[in-house]
Amino acid sequence: MNKDIYRKPIFTANPITVLVLGICSALAVTVQLKGACVMALSVTLVTGFSSMIVSMLRNTIPNRIRIIVQLLIVALFVILIDQFLKAYAYDVSKQLSVYIGLIITNCIIMGRIEAFALGNKPIPSLIDGLANGFGYGMILVFIAFIRELLGSGTLFGYQIIPQSWYVANGGFYENNGLMILPPMALILVGCIIWIQRSVQKDLQEK
């Protein structure tokens, strides 16, 4: 099987930094690592399975109403995930609030369905969806790692920066409050793109 299916979305055609898909929900959930991990996992599963289902139905969906049909298939999986989180991880579900529902309109999912699943067999579509979700989740977790570590001094809610370092306890360290604010996520993504495009020169825009 073609290795590009799962290799490309992770590096050279990463959905966030190269294709600019799925930014909407990507940034808001990256204040804490825990939320970001849950979000990454949810998006990976939804992308994979909805791609697979659409691919199975690709010859029976009428072309004119395909957007609605695709949205309903995606919405079905998102409802399953939302109900699961409400039942087993209520605090995470509260923290992510509307962003779980917004997975439906996450451009990665519709983008992969339109670009790949409509023209390919179910199994490659599943792999393509999972790989794209993973490429998305990787960036998400990376940003959340930086924001939580520098912004609150914790990782997964556990204190990483020693308490004695803080100014309040006679130390020299202070949390960077800017990291917690929404705009910082955008600037971090900008910096990641900067680094990636300095290395992979063929991605630079003219």
């Binding site: 898909l21 109403i65 957007i67 609605i68 529902g101 600037i187 900008g190 900067w194 990636q196």
Partner: protein, 205 residues
């Protein structure tokens, strides 16, 4: 009346869809290359938000919320259909966008050809679904508030995309480092605009 004005101003500036919640970023980044197209898409989003929000509010109030079906039969007081809200909301939005597209295509082909490509895009614009989900989460009191919120957040989104497009038009004359060109610098500018918009948070409404 004052409540409505407060809500309107608040949803434009303080709770701006783009800068405070990152909603609608995909089309925000993709379509903000010229002021003219950005304005066209902005108007379409304002329209769709202002119409779908009251519809979804009524659906939520009388069908989906816990115990909302009492008007049909008192026995349904314990029924909770809120798990269906995602699917109902997105169906309303997608259907409405499709109807708008057909009507515009039939009656105003000139407008259709200038807006044509953006119309179907709006169905998957997170700002539109996000508006409905925020409306549900914050529990607005009546249809008027839902409509005001929809209109306000639509204008907020339009304001953001038009200013961004204006900046990007000027940006093509400046000397940006090569790897940062295009996408990278757009992200950083959006971030800086977001920081500027945060100053509205101090306003007490």
């Amino acid at each position: 009346m004052q409540d409505y004005i407060n809500l309107f101003v608040k949803s434009i500036f303080v709770d701006n869809m783009v800068f405070a919640f990152f909603l609608g970023m995909c089309s925000f980044l993709a379509v903000s290359k010229s002021v003219k197209t950005a304005t066209g898409l902005g108007i379409a989003v304002v329209f769709v938000l202002a119409v779908t929000l009251p519809i979804n509010y009524l659906l939520n109030r009388y069908i989906l919320a816990p115990g909302a079906l009492v008007w049909l039969n008192p026995e349904y007081a314990t029924l909770d259909l809120s798990f269906l809200s995602f699917i109902v909301f997105i169906a309303v939005i997608a259907a409405f966008v499709q109807i708008v597209e057909m009507v515009v295509e039939k009656y105003s082909p000139t407008l259709y050809s200038s807006l044509g490509i953006f119309l179907p895009l709006i169905a998957v614009n997170c700002a539109v679904l996000g508006g409905s989900l925020f409306m549900q989460e914050r529990g607005y009191a009546n249809v008027g508030e839902a409509f005001t919120f929809g209109l306000g957040s639509g204008f907020g989104w339009m304001l953001a995309i038009v200013t961004m497009a204006a900046i990007r038009e000027k940006l093509s004359y400046s000397n940006v480092p090569k790897p940062l060109k295009g996408l990278g610098i757009s992200f950083i500018i959006t971030g800086l605009m977001g920081i500027a918009f945060m100053s509205f948070m101090g306003i007490k409404l």
